[in-house]
């Protein structure tokens, strides 16, 4: 066991981990931040996306020890302290961008990373960027719409509610 220390959602966190412990396991099992999910074991689904030093990372593909000293941000850190959802989270609710909610944390974290590098992405750019995030419920329609809306684009012309 080795001690690992990092900042998670602005709070110092540390714990003893095995060399093989994945960042996602550290977050879920030791810090009890269970909002980050594990949907596959081949780094494909993106339910585990968090931000490490501002970059979107699949936390199932990174060892906890590799995050030593890092600033980690998870879905639990996205809303304001009073619970007010951030712009992306709110857009997902407004546009029904989630159903079962399992892929949602990863989708929100990926969307945040996308909008940071591309503040007004086109539909095609959004779909392309989400290549590493799988959703089985929504058919992506309302996820893409929510991200467009979160970026300030008018989505009223897009079909459906």
């Amino acid at each position: 066991m080795t001690q690992v220390s990092m900042t998670v959602n602005g709070v110092a966190a540390s714990g003893d981990v095995e060399g093989r412990t994945l960042l996602v396991s550290f977050l879920r099992d030791q810090l009890e931040l269970t909002g980050t999910h594990v949907g596959c074991d081949t780094s494909q689904c993106g339910a585990c996306v968090v931000h490490v030093n501002g970059e979107a990372v699949k936390s199932c593909t990174m060892l906890a020890l590799e995050a030593e000293g890092a600033e980690v941000s998870t879905i639990e850190g996205q809303a304001a302290p009073d619970g007010t959802l951030n712009t992306i989270q709110q857009a997902f609710q407004d546009h029904h961008g989630l159903q079962c909610g399992f892929c949602t944390p990863g989708m929100v974290m990926s969307a945040a990373a996308l909008l940071k590098e591309n503040p007004k992405p086109s539909e095609a750019e959004i779909r392309d960027y989400l290549e590493g995030n799988i959703c089985r419920c929504t058919g992506y329609h309302n996820i893409v719409k929510a991200i467009m809306a979160a970026s300030g684009q008018d989505v009223s012309a897009i079909a459906a509610e």
Binding site: T36, G83, F92, H96, C100, G101, R127, N133, G139, H141
Partner: protein, 787 residues
Amino acid sequence: MPKDHGIGASPKRREDIRFLSGTGNYTDDINLRGQAYVHFLRSDVAHGKINGINTEAAAGMPGVLRIFTGADFEGVGSIPCGWQITDKHGQPMQEPAHPVLAQGKVRHVGDPIAAVVAESAAQARDAAEAIELDIEELPAVVNMKAALEEGATKVHDDLTSNLCYDWGFVEENKPAVEEAFQKAAHVTTLELVNNRLVANPMEPRVAVGDFNRASGDSTLYTTSQNPHVIRLLMGAFVLGIPEHKLRVVAPDVGGGFGTKIFHYAEEAFCTFAAKALNRPVKWTSSRSEAFISDAHGRDHVTKIELALDSDNNFIALRTDTMANMGAYLSTFAPSVPTWLHGTLMAGNYKTPLIYVNVKAVFTNTVPVDAYRGAGRPEATYQLERVIDKAARELGVDPIALRRQNFITEFPYATPVAVEYDTGDYHATMDKLEEMADFKGFAKRREASAAKGKLRGLGMNCYIEACGIAPSNLVGQLGARAGLYESATVRVNATGGLVVMTGSHSHGQGHETSFPQVIAEMIGIDESMVEIVHGDTARTPMGMGTYGSRSLAVGGSAMFRATEKIIAKAKKIAAHLMEAADADIELKDGAFSVAGTDKSVAWGDVCLAAYVPHNYPLEEIEPGLEETAFYDPSNFTYPSGAYACEVEVDPETGKVTIERFSAADDFGNVVNPMIVEGQVHGGLAQGIGQALLEGAVYDENGQLLNASYMDYAMPRASDVPFYQVDHSCATPCTHNPLGVKGCGEAGAIGSPPAVVNAVIDALQSAGRDVTHIDMPLSPSRVWQAMHG
């Protein structure tokens, strides 16, 4: 102005707040004090005899608490099947035993052989690698046709063959169908495969077993669509635990799509082991395990023949299907290719004579059971494909051919034993023609051609039977369960309501939509209604959520319970206002006496029920809580018309979906936003089936694409924005809400439209391609073009 509350409004989903802020409570988020972890050692061969399992080295590994094998489960029941089919000779289907852990033989890759319970998940996994297996590999039976041949290796030695059943429907129709085919002016024949799919809800299955030594009660937390069904099946048939000593909790569940209906061995194991070890035992499936242990879907091989007269009227239909059951009978597996498939073969058409034959086959593959649509997509696909092929052969417009044969009068009794209560197939087709802009297609085709792409337009209709179903009917058909739903409505003294429902929400948004119904009935704010589901200790007996039944059946139970609440509340109000019961009206959350200005608020009546100082105690009991069980008198029959436009790249065979339009008749709609979301999701799964997905076994029974690296799940860039519409509504006539169900329509209705569109694209370029089996991968399309 759209409504802003009640039935027909689209309030934001209340459950979203917890899902969006990472505070959902999925089964894997549950960790109990003292919890141990299990790892299942699974067979890596499809068929083999277990000669020995040496667990000695593994048992001594760090953290290992105990290793279980099949021998530990000899006194335990078999995982039961919930539906018995009677074959065409009146004999019951062949029903093999399904042990919790393999006994004597392994029958598919993924069959659990041993279970290591350890202090940590990693230790359990490490120790499982140290178990020495002596398995004599036997020839695997993978192909259904080969499995049915004389002398084929048997999946189950104690059965007479690999044939589970040979079902004829309706057997008495067969001679008349044969005769009609002989008289037909034209017969169109199509052989096709309905590809095997893996449901793949994003949340893998998880089970946590717990045992309370003080009370002797067992609790199972599990990723289920129907916790009461699991309690009944596991308690009564596998572990012998009476229902009052067993609690099953299905908390937030990350998607189901059918595969979380069934009772699985891992659930029984965790419940059993928790008692044996006196510690909670948790299992979390990896995605790799999910591919080889979650029940798969579809996997039919079909020959369909459509007979038409000289005026292009459909006069008879005949189908011959082999349906893969896999190695064991999953909970509802036998019903899918039979009652959920054969009864839908009339589709939207007045074909007078239909005969359906289905042979269900055991193979050394993962069990196959219901997946979104379950039987109805298989029926729709073959029917709508053969109609399209017939239109091409006859040189007639595929829409006109369909319209000519539409059922137009309701109720309509089909020749395959169901009675459609309502529908208006011309209306949804009219709507589709408008939405999909068929008139503009020629121009779009020209634009595609200018880019070197072939554009195709495909459409189809669908009908489905939802809201399963009258218990007395399904009992006659072989169901070993009733299929009602229940609800308890508890009104608190301060006027708020808690509704305990047997329906389960795993993405459908019941916590938002169900209160819309109740709030509208009473005239109060939706925030006063809370929905409780997913816990057998907190809700009355329920049958759960599948087959698009939650609102049609569960919602009707809530409706009836709320009616009882209102009836009692009116008596209380009448007493308070010294009026006759019959004169009391409820509107906008207040009771009034007709023709007077006397009124008493909802909250005051509720308070009186619990503080009965001024109360008709000689007439009614205090309290305001009612339960209703609703058993539907018929299925519901959602229907619709779908259109797809594709572009095919002739250089590579790659198909892209350019437009998809869906016109559905769901009857009345409670929450349009949620309904449209359900359709979107179904469309993506149907498009996935048509273009991308398909579980592939090699001849040795190895699943070749058992990961997201290999099994092509639809991604955001594989699908377009969809156009959906549900304005053509013919309300269901036999449930109080007039609702039909919307959860599966998209997955049922979309595959034929996609395939019809690709065929249209290829034929437009002069390619004589009449069929390509799904998934229409670039290689398959390219080969068909150059074949």
